[in-house]
Symmetry: C4
Protein backbone atom coordinates (compact mmCIF):
# COMPACT_ATOMS: atom_id res chain seq x y z
CA UNK A 1 0.00 0.00 0.00
CA UNK A 2 1.38 3.38 -0.91
CA UNK A 3 1.48 5.95 1.85
CA UNK A 4 -1.51 8.30 1.77
CA UNK A 5 -1.85 11.83 3.04
CA UNK A 6 0.19 14.80 4.09
CA UNK A 7 2.61 15.57 6.92
CA UNK A 8 0.99 18.89 7.88
CA UNK A 9 -2.71 19.34 8.69
CA UNK A 10 -4.77 22.15 10.19
CA UNK A 11 -8.25 22.32 11.74
CA UNK A 12 -9.47 25.90 12.08
CA UNK A 13 -12.60 24.98 14.06
CA UNK A 14 -12.35 23.78 17.63
CA UNK A 15 -14.73 23.97 20.58
CA UNK A 16 -15.40 21.39 23.27
CA UNK A 17 -18.86 22.03 24.73
CA UNK A 18 -18.79 22.46 28.50
CA UNK A 19 -21.73 20.20 29.21
CA UNK A 20 -22.98 16.78 28.16
CA UNK A 21 -26.11 14.66 28.31
CA UNK A 22 -26.04 10.87 28.41
CA UNK A 23 -23.64 8.16 29.49
CA UNK A 24 -19.87 8.78 29.40
CA UNK A 25 -17.70 8.38 27.42
CA UNK A 26 -19.94 7.50 24.47
CA UNK A 27 -22.20 10.54 24.75
CA UNK A 28 -19.75 12.99 26.32
CA UNK A 29 -19.51 16.15 24.24
CA UNK A 30 -16.18 15.83 22.46
CA UNK A 31 -14.02 16.82 19.56
CA UNK A 32 -11.96 14.26 17.74
CA UNK A 33 -9.08 14.34 15.28
CA UNK A 34 -9.28 11.04 13.43
CA UNK A 35 -5.78 10.19 12.22
CA UNK A 36 -5.02 7.42 9.71
CA UNK A 37 -1.48 6.16 9.28
CA UNK A 38 -1.27 3.83 6.28
CA UNK A 39 2.52 3.72 6.36
CA UNK A 40 4.74 0.98 7.73
CA UNK A 41 6.34 3.37 10.22
CA UNK A 42 5.03 4.75 13.47
CA UNK A 43 3.72 8.28 13.00
CA UNK A 44 5.13 10.72 15.55
CA UNK A 45 2.94 13.79 15.55
CA UNK A 46 3.27 17.16 17.23
CA UNK A 47 0.02 19.00 17.88
CA UNK A 48 -0.25 22.73 18.52
CA UNK A 49 -3.44 24.28 19.89
CA UNK A 50 -4.15 27.88 18.87
CA UNK A 51 -6.40 30.27 20.77
CA UNK A 52 -8.02 33.65 20.19
CA UNK A 53 -6.24 35.50 22.96
CA UNK A 54 -3.00 33.77 23.95
CA UNK A 55 0.04 32.03 22.52
CA UNK A 56 -0.39 28.44 21.24
CA UNK A 57 -0.24 25.53 23.68
CA UNK A 58 1.95 22.52 23.10
CA UNK A 59 3.46 20.77 21.40
CA UNK A 60 1.45 17.74 22.41
CA UNK A 61 3.07 14.46 21.38
CA UNK A 62 0.90 11.81 19.79
CA UNK A 63 1.91 8.55 18.14
CA UNK A 64 -0.05 6.39 15.72
CA UNK A 65 1.35 2.92 15.08
CA UNK A 66 2.04 1.66 11.56
CA UNK A 67 -1.13 0.70 9.67
CA UNK A 68 -3.39 1.97 12.45
CA UNK A 69 -5.95 4.71 13.04
CA UNK A 70 -6.20 6.83 16.17
CA UNK A 71 -9.36 8.75 16.94
CA UNK A 72 -7.79 11.32 19.23
CA UNK A 73 -10.16 13.13 21.55
CA UNK A 74 -8.97 16.66 22.22
CA UNK A 75 -10.68 16.16 25.59
CA UNK A 76 -7.91 13.68 26.45
CA UNK A 77 -4.93 15.94 25.75
CA UNK A 78 -3.29 16.66 29.10
CA UNK A 79 0.40 17.35 28.67
CA UNK A 80 1.55 20.15 28.76
CA UNK A 81 -1.99 21.30 29.68
CA UNK A 82 -5.62 20.28 29.08
CA UNK A 83 -7.65 21.90 26.31
CA UNK A 84 -10.07 24.30 28.00
CA UNK A 85 -13.81 23.65 27.59
CA UNK A 86 -16.17 26.21 26.18
CA UNK A 87 -13.27 27.98 24.45
CA UNK A 88 -12.59 28.63 20.77
CA UNK A 89 -9.44 26.96 19.52
CA UNK A 90 -7.78 25.60 16.38
CA UNK A 91 -5.11 22.96 15.85
CA UNK A 92 -2.13 22.05 13.70
CA UNK A 93 -0.64 18.57 13.25
CA UNK A 94 2.92 17.97 12.04
CA UNK A 95 3.84 14.33 11.42
CA UNK A 96 7.07 12.59 10.44
CA UNK A 97 5.16 10.41 7.94
CA UNK A 98 2.14 11.19 5.77
CA UNK A 99 -1.21 10.71 7.52
CA UNK A 100 -4.85 11.67 6.89
CA UNK A 101 -6.75 13.81 9.43
CA UNK A 102 -10.52 14.29 9.77
CA UNK A 103 -12.30 16.45 12.35
CA UNK A 104 -15.51 15.43 14.16
CA UNK A 105 -17.57 16.96 16.97
CA UNK A 106 -20.33 15.32 18.98
CA UNK A 107 -22.31 17.94 20.87
CA UNK A 108 -24.49 16.45 23.59
CA UNK A 109 -25.37 19.60 25.50
CA UNK A 110 -28.97 18.82 24.68
CA UNK A 111 -30.95 15.59 24.95
CA UNK A 112 -30.52 14.82 21.25
CA UNK A 113 -26.97 14.86 19.90
CA UNK A 114 -25.66 16.92 17.04
CA UNK A 115 -22.77 15.73 14.87
CA UNK A 116 -20.47 17.40 12.39
CA UNK A 117 -17.38 16.34 10.49
CA UNK A 118 -14.97 17.56 7.84
CA UNK A 119 -11.72 16.63 6.28
CA UNK A 120 -8.96 18.76 7.80
CA UNK A 121 -6.80 21.08 5.66
CA UNK A 122 -3.79 19.33 4.17
CA UNK A 123 -0.83 21.61 3.64
CA UNK A 124 1.33 20.56 0.74
CA UNK A 125 4.44 19.01 2.23
CA UNK B 1 -18.10 13.35 -20.01
CA UNK B 2 -14.54 13.41 -18.81
CA UNK B 3 -13.70 11.07 -15.97
CA UNK B 4 -13.79 12.79 -12.59
CA UNK B 5 -11.97 11.97 -9.39
CA UNK B 6 -9.04 10.00 -8.10
CA UNK B 7 -8.13 6.31 -7.87
CA UNK B 8 -7.11 6.44 -4.19
CA UNK B 9 -9.29 7.76 -1.37
CA UNK B 10 -9.10 7.66 2.42
CA UNK B 11 -11.63 8.26 5.20
CA UNK B 12 -9.94 8.68 8.58
CA UNK B 13 -13.20 8.72 10.56
CA UNK B 14 -15.26 5.57 10.98
CA UNK B 15 -17.65 4.41 13.68
CA UNK B 16 -20.91 2.48 13.31
CA UNK B 17 -23.06 3.16 16.38
CA UNK B 18 -24.13 -0.01 18.11
CA UNK B 19 -27.75 0.93 18.53
CA UNK B 20 -30.54 2.47 16.45
CA UNK B 21 -33.95 4.02 16.85
CA UNK B 22 -36.64 3.84 14.16
CA UNK B 23 -37.54 1.60 11.25
CA UNK B 24 -34.82 -0.36 9.45
CA UNK B 25 -33.06 0.10 7.11
CA UNK B 26 -33.90 3.77 6.66
CA UNK B 27 -33.20 4.82 10.24
CA UNK B 28 -30.61 2.20 11.14
CA UNK B 29 -27.43 3.85 12.41
CA UNK B 30 -25.00 3.53 9.52
CA UNK B 31 -21.91 4.80 7.81
CA UNK B 32 -21.83 5.17 4.07
CA UNK B 33 -19.14 5.68 1.47
CA UNK B 34 -20.89 7.29 -1.47
CA UNK B 35 -18.96 6.38 -4.61
CA UNK B 36 -19.52 8.04 -8.00
CA UNK B 37 -18.13 6.45 -11.15
CA UNK B 38 -18.53 8.83 -14.10
CA UNK B 39 -16.37 6.69 -16.38
CA UNK B 40 -17.53 4.29 -19.08
CA UNK B 41 -15.81 1.37 -17.35
CA UNK B 42 -16.84 -0.63 -14.33
CA UNK B 43 -14.93 0.52 -11.26
CA UNK B 44 -13.34 -2.37 -9.39
CA UNK B 45 -12.46 -1.13 -5.93
CA UNK B 46 -10.51 -2.68 -3.09
CA UNK B 47 -11.37 -1.44 0.40
CA UNK B 48 -9.13 -1.80 3.44
CA UNK B 49 -10.46 -1.18 6.96
CA UNK B 50 -7.94 0.12 9.52
CA UNK B 51 -8.29 -0.23 13.28
CA UNK B 52 -6.64 1.19 16.38
CA UNK B 53 -5.31 -2.09 17.72
CA UNK B 54 -5.00 -4.71 14.99
CA UNK B 55 -3.88 -5.18 11.39
CA UNK B 56 -6.20 -3.92 8.62
CA UNK B 57 -9.10 -6.08 7.44
CA UNK B 58 -9.72 -6.81 3.77
CA UNK B 59 -9.40 -6.22 1.00
CA UNK B 60 -13.14 -6.03 0.45
CA UNK B 61 -14.11 -6.08 -3.23
CA UNK B 62 -16.69 -3.59 -4.43
CA UNK B 63 -17.77 -2.79 -7.98
CA UNK B 64 -19.55 0.28 -9.30
CA UNK B 65 -20.93 0.02 -12.82
CA UNK B 66 -20.09 2.59 -15.50
CA UNK B 67 -21.97 5.90 -15.04
CA UNK B 68 -23.43 4.79 -11.73
CA UNK B 69 -23.24 5.73 -8.05
CA UNK B 70 -23.06 3.27 -5.18
CA UNK B 71 -23.88 4.37 -1.64
CA UNK B 72 -21.99 1.62 0.12
CA UNK B 73 -23.00 1.01 3.72
CA UNK B 74 -20.04 -0.18 5.76
CA UNK B 75 -22.68 -2.08 7.74
CA UNK B 76 -23.12 -4.35 4.70
CA UNK B 77 -19.47 -5.35 4.25
CA UNK B 78 -19.25 -9.05 5.11
CA UNK B 79 -16.39 -10.71 3.24
CA UNK B 80 -13.77 -11.36 4.56
CA UNK B 81 -15.40 -10.18 7.83
CA UNK B 82 -18.06 -7.72 9.03
CA UNK B 83 -17.06 -4.27 10.27
CA UNK B 84 -17.44 -4.35 14.06
CA UNK B 85 -19.99 -1.98 15.64
CA UNK B 86 -19.03 0.53 18.30
CA UNK B 87 -15.41 0.43 17.15
CA UNK B 88 -13.14 3.14 15.77
CA UNK B 89 -11.99 2.43 12.24
CA UNK B 90 -10.76 4.15 9.07
CA UNK B 91 -10.87 3.12 5.42
CA UNK B 92 -8.91 3.29 2.17
CA UNK B 93 -10.32 2.82 -1.33
CA UNK B 94 -8.18 1.87 -4.34
CA UNK B 95 -9.97 1.83 -7.70
CA UNK B 96 -8.91 0.88 -11.22
CA UNK B 97 -10.64 4.01 -12.58
CA UNK B 98 -11.08 7.48 -11.11
CA UNK B 99 -14.08 7.83 -8.79
CA UNK B 100 -15.33 10.35 -6.21
CA UNK B 101 -15.90 9.29 -2.58
CA UNK B 102 -17.93 11.07 0.11
CA UNK B 103 -18.44 9.89 3.69
CA UNK B 104 -21.76 10.11 5.58
CA UNK B 105 -22.96 8.91 8.98
CA UNK B 106 -26.53 8.69 10.24
CA UNK B 107 -26.56 8.24 14.01
CA UNK B 108 -29.96 7.14 15.31
CA UNK B 109 -28.96 6.05 18.79
CA UNK B 110 -31.34 8.69 20.05
CA UNK B 111 -34.90 9.50 19.05
CA UNK B 112 -33.81 12.36 16.80
CA UNK B 113 -31.17 11.56 14.19
CA UNK B 114 -27.84 13.26 13.75
CA UNK B 115 -26.14 13.50 10.36
CA UNK B 116 -22.65 14.34 9.21
CA UNK B 117 -20.83 14.23 5.88
CA UNK B 118 -17.53 15.15 4.27
CA UNK B 119 -15.66 14.68 1.09
CA UNK B 120 -13.09 11.92 1.55
CA UNK B 121 -9.35 12.58 1.08
CA UNK B 122 -8.24 12.16 -2.52
CA UNK B 123 -4.65 11.01 -2.86
CA UNK B 124 -3.02 12.23 -6.04
CA UNK B 125 -2.81 9.26 -8.35
CA UNK C 1 -11.85 40.16 -7.80
CA UNK C 2 -10.14 37.19 -9.37
CA UNK C 3 -12.39 34.31 -10.41
CA UNK C 4 -12.50 31.56 -7.80
CA UNK C 5 -13.21 27.89 -8.20
CA UNK C 6 -13.35 25.18 -10.82
CA UNK C 7 -15.51 24.45 -13.86
CA UNK C 8 -16.21 20.81 -12.93
CA UNK C 9 -17.63 19.65 -9.60
CA UNK C 10 -19.00 16.37 -8.30
CA UNK C 11 -21.14 15.44 -5.27
CA UNK C 12 -21.12 11.70 -4.64
CA UNK C 13 -23.78 11.82 -1.91
CA UNK C 14 -27.39 12.53 -2.76
CA UNK C 15 -30.67 11.58 -1.11
CA UNK C 16 -33.83 13.63 -0.69
CA UNK C 17 -35.78 12.24 2.28
CA UNK C 18 -39.34 11.33 1.34
CA UNK C 19 -40.97 12.97 4.31
CA UNK C 20 -40.75 16.24 6.23
CA UNK C 21 -41.83 17.79 9.50
CA UNK C 22 -42.54 21.49 9.91
CA UNK C 23 -43.57 24.39 7.70
CA UNK C 24 -42.68 24.42 3.99
CA UNK C 25 -40.43 25.41 2.37
CA UNK C 26 -38.15 26.30 5.29
CA UNK C 27 -38.34 22.93 7.01
CA UNK C 28 -38.99 20.72 3.98
CA UNK C 29 -36.40 17.96 3.78
CA UNK C 30 -34.10 19.05 0.98
CA UNK C 31 -30.71 18.83 -0.62
CA UNK C 32 -28.97 21.91 -1.87
CA UNK C 33 -26.03 22.63 -4.14
CA UNK C 34 -24.81 26.06 -3.12
CA UNK C 35 -23.12 27.64 -6.14
CA UNK C 36 -21.01 30.80 -5.97
CA UNK C 37 -20.12 32.67 -9.14
CA UNK C 38 -17.55 35.38 -8.40
CA UNK C 39 -16.92 36.08 -12.07
CA UNK C 40 -18.29 38.95 -14.15
CA UNK C 41 -20.00 36.53 -16.55
CA UNK C 42 -23.17 34.55 -16.15
CA UNK C 43 -22.39 30.94 -15.26
CA UNK C 44 -24.19 28.46 -17.49
CA UNK C 45 -24.09 25.09 -15.78
CA UNK C 46 -25.11 21.63 -16.91
CA UNK C 47 -26.05 19.20 -14.15
CA UNK C 48 -26.12 15.43 -14.53
CA UNK C 49 -27.80 13.21 -11.93
CA UNK C 50 -26.35 9.71 -11.50
CA UNK C 51 -28.21 6.75 -10.06
CA UNK C 52 -27.40 3.27 -8.81
CA UNK C 53 -29.45 1.38 -11.37
CA UNK C 54 -30.08 3.45 -14.49
CA UNK C 55 -28.39 5.86 -16.89
CA UNK C 56 -27.84 9.46 -15.73
CA UNK C 57 -30.65 12.00 -16.00
CA UNK C 58 -30.16 15.38 -17.56
CA UNK C 59 -28.52 17.57 -18.45
CA UNK C 60 -30.36 20.07 -16.32
CA UNK C 61 -29.60 23.68 -17.24
CA UNK C 62 -28.91 26.13 -14.44
CA UNK C 63 -27.65 29.70 -14.63
CA UNK C 64 -26.04 31.81 -11.94
CA UNK C 65 -25.71 35.51 -12.69
CA UNK C 66 -22.38 37.33 -12.42
CA UNK C 67 -21.34 38.01 -8.82
CA UNK C 68 -24.24 36.02 -7.40
CA UNK C 69 -24.84 32.84 -5.42
CA UNK C 70 -27.57 30.32 -6.13
CA UNK C 71 -28.60 27.82 -3.48
CA UNK C 72 -30.10 25.26 -5.84
CA UNK C 73 -32.51 22.79 -4.27
CA UNK C 74 -32.35 19.45 -6.05
CA UNK C 75 -36.02 19.22 -5.05
CA UNK C 76 -36.75 21.97 -7.59
CA UNK C 77 -35.11 20.35 -10.61
CA UNK C 78 -37.92 19.47 -13.01
CA UNK C 79 -36.70 19.45 -16.60
CA UNK C 80 -36.11 16.90 -18.09
CA UNK C 81 -37.45 15.06 -15.02
CA UNK C 82 -37.74 15.55 -11.24
CA UNK C 83 -35.17 14.00 -8.89
CA UNK C 84 -36.89 11.03 -7.25
CA UNK C 85 -37.33 11.12 -3.45
CA UNK C 86 -35.98 8.41 -1.20
CA UNK C 87 -33.47 7.39 -3.88
CA UNK C 88 -29.66 7.35 -3.85
CA UNK C 89 -28.14 9.67 -6.42
CA UNK C 90 -25.00 11.69 -7.16
CA UNK C 91 -24.42 14.77 -9.27
CA UNK C 92 -21.91 16.44 -11.58
CA UNK C 93 -21.75 20.14 -12.45
CA UNK C 94 -20.01 21.48 -15.57
CA UNK C 95 -19.84 25.26 -15.85
CA UNK C 96 -18.54 27.62 -18.53
CA UNK C 97 -16.86 29.75 -15.85
CA UNK C 98 -15.20 28.80 -12.57
CA UNK C 99 -17.62 28.49 -9.64
CA UNK C 100 -17.55 27.04 -6.11
CA UNK C 101 -20.01 24.29 -5.10
CA UNK C 102 -20.98 23.18 -1.57
CA UNK C 103 -23.47 20.43 -0.71
CA UNK C 104 -26.00 20.67 2.15
CA UNK C 105 -28.85 18.45 3.35
CA UNK C 106 -31.61 19.34 5.80
CA UNK C 107 -33.37 16.19 6.96
CA UNK C 108 -36.67 16.94 8.71
CA UNK C 109 -38.16 13.46 8.72
CA UNK C 110 -38.16 13.74 12.49
CA UNK C 111 -39.34 16.52 14.75
CA UNK C 112 -35.81 17.87 15.25
CA UNK C 113 -33.82 18.59 12.11
CA UNK C 114 -30.47 17.16 11.16
CA UNK C 115 -28.00 19.08 9.00
CA UNK C 116 -24.89 18.16 7.07
CA UNK C 117 -22.65 19.95 4.62
CA UNK C 118 -19.42 19.51 2.70
CA UNK C 119 -17.43 21.16 0.02
CA UNK C 120 -18.04 19.32 -3.27
CA UNK C 121 -15.17 17.69 -5.20
CA UNK C 122 -13.44 20.10 -7.58
CA UNK C 123 -12.00 18.41 -10.63
CA UNK C 124 -8.97 20.20 -11.99
CA UNK C 125 -10.07 21.98 -15.13
CA UNK D 1 6.22 26.80 12.24
CA UNK D 2 5.75 27.19 8.51
CA UNK D 3 2.78 29.22 7.39
CA UNK D 4 -0.22 27.07 6.53
CA UNK D 5 -3.11 27.77 4.20
CA UNK D 6 -4.12 29.99 1.36
CA UNK D 7 -4.77 33.71 0.92
CA UNK D 8 -8.11 33.27 -0.86
CA UNK D 9 -11.05 31.23 0.46
CA UNK D 10 -14.69 30.85 -0.52
CA UNK D 11 -17.76 29.49 1.27
CA UNK D 12 -20.64 28.89 -1.15
CA UNK D 13 -23.17 28.07 1.59
CA UNK D 14 -24.48 30.74 3.91
CA UNK D 15 -27.74 31.14 5.81
CA UNK D 16 -28.32 32.53 9.29
CA UNK D 17 -31.58 31.09 10.63
CA UNK D 18 -34.00 33.80 11.73
CA UNK D 19 -34.94 32.22 15.01
CA UNK D 20 -33.21 30.55 17.93
CA UNK D 21 -33.99 28.41 20.94
CA UNK D 22 -31.94 28.49 24.13
CA UNK D 23 -29.66 30.93 25.92
CA UNK D 24 -27.71 33.54 23.96
CA UNK D 25 -25.05 33.70 22.69
CA UNK D 26 -24.17 30.02 23.11
CA UNK D 27 -27.32 28.64 21.51
CA UNK D 28 -28.13 31.51 19.17
CA UNK D 29 -28.46 30.25 15.60
CA UNK D 30 -25.28 31.34 13.92
CA UNK D 31 -22.81 30.83 11.13
CA UNK D 32 -19.12 30.98 11.78
CA UNK D 33 -15.99 31.28 9.66
CA UNK D 34 -13.21 29.81 11.78
CA UNK D 35 -9.96 31.43 10.70
CA UNK D 36 -6.51 30.18 11.74
CA UNK D 37 -3.46 32.38 11.28
CA UNK D 38 -0.30 30.38 11.97
CA UNK D 39 1.96 33.12 10.65
CA UNK D 40 3.97 35.62 12.65
CA UNK D 41 2.14 38.53 11.03
CA UNK D 42 -1.31 39.92 11.66
CA UNK D 43 -3.73 38.71 9.00
CA UNK D 44 -5.72 41.53 7.44
CA UNK D 45 -8.70 40.00 5.69
CA UNK D 46 -11.34 41.47 3.41
CA UNK D 47 -14.65 39.65 3.33
CA UNK D 48 -17.22 39.96 0.57
CA UNK D 49 -20.78 38.66 1.02
CA UNK D 50 -22.56 37.47 -2.14
CA UNK D 51 -26.33 37.24 -2.55
CA UNK D 52 -28.78 35.73 -5.00
CA UNK D 53 -30.37 38.96 -6.14
CA UNK D 54 -28.10 41.93 -5.51
CA UNK D 55 -24.49 43.07 -5.76
CA UNK D 56 -22.04 41.81 -3.10
CA UNK D 57 -21.80 43.60 0.24
CA UNK D 58 -18.52 44.69 1.70
CA UNK D 59 -15.65 44.57 1.94
CA UNK D 60 -15.79 43.83 5.64
CA UNK D 61 -12.43 44.23 7.37
CA UNK D 62 -11.33 41.53 9.79
CA UNK D 63 -7.98 41.04 11.48
CA UNK D 64 -6.54 37.93 13.09
CA UNK D 65 -3.45 38.41 15.20
CA UNK D 66 -0.27 36.40 14.61
CA UNK D 67 -0.53 32.81 15.89
CA UNK D 68 -4.20 33.20 16.76
CA UNK D 69 -7.56 31.82 15.65
CA UNK D 70 -10.70 33.88 15.22
CA UNK D 71 -14.09 32.19 15.11
CA UNK D 72 -15.91 34.94 13.26
CA UNK D 73 -19.69 34.92 13.56
CA UNK D 74 -21.30 36.28 10.41
CA UNK D 75 -24.01 37.45 12.80
CA UNK D 76 -21.55 39.99 14.17
CA UNK D 77 -20.57 41.62 10.88
CA UNK D 78 -21.98 45.16 10.97
CA UNK D 79 -19.90 47.50 8.83
CA UNK D 80 -20.80 48.41 6.09
CA UNK D 81 -24.07 46.54 6.82
CA UNK D 82 -25.32 43.53 8.81
CA UNK D 83 -25.77 40.15 7.13
CA UNK D 84 -29.53 39.68 6.70
CA UNK D 85 -31.15 36.72 8.49
CA UNK D 86 -33.11 34.07 6.67
CA UNK D 87 -31.34 34.94 3.43
CA UNK D 88 -29.11 32.84 1.17
CA UNK D 89 -25.59 34.18 0.90
CA UNK D 90 -22.01 33.14 0.17
CA UNK D 91 -18.66 34.62 1.17
CA UNK D 92 -15.12 35.20 -0.04
CA UNK D 93 -12.08 35.90 2.12
CA UNK D 94 -8.91 37.57 0.81
CA UNK D 95 -6.02 37.75 3.26
CA UNK D 96 -2.57 39.32 3.11
CA UNK D 97 -1.06 36.18 4.66
CA UNK D 98 -1.99 32.52 4.31
CA UNK D 99 -4.76 31.37 6.67
CA UNK D 100 -7.07 28.36 7.00
CA UNK D 101 -10.86 28.82 6.92
CA UNK D 102 -13.57 26.39 8.07
CA UNK D 103 -17.32 26.98 7.96
CA UNK D 104 -19.74 25.97 10.72
CA UNK D 105 -23.47 26.50 11.33
CA UNK D 106 -25.40 25.96 14.54
CA UNK D 107 -29.12 25.90 13.84
CA UNK D 108 -31.21 26.25 16.99
CA UNK D 109 -34.57 27.00 15.41
CA UNK D 110 -35.81 23.86 17.11
CA UNK D 111 -35.38 22.64 20.65
CA UNK D 112 -32.53 20.32 19.70
CA UNK D 113 -29.64 21.88 17.82
CA UNK D 114 -28.29 20.82 14.45
CA UNK D 115 -24.64 21.32 13.50
CA UNK D 116 -22.72 21.22 10.26
CA UNK D 117 -19.18 22.07 9.24
CA UNK D 118 -16.87 21.91 6.26
CA UNK D 119 -13.49 23.11 5.18
CA UNK D 120 -13.92 26.16 2.96
CA UNK D 121 -12.64 26.21 -0.62
CA UNK D 122 -9.01 27.27 -0.89
CA UNK D 123 -8.20 29.03 -4.13
CA UNK D 124 -4.61 28.50 -5.20
CA UNK D 125 -2.77 31.70 -4.52
Amino acid sequence: MRVIGSTIWAIAEGYIPETSTGTAPEFTSHETACILNTSDDEARIEVLIYFSDREPAGPYHVTVAARRTLHLRFNDLADPEPVPRGTDYASVFVSNVAVVVQHTRLDSRQAENALMTTLAYAASS
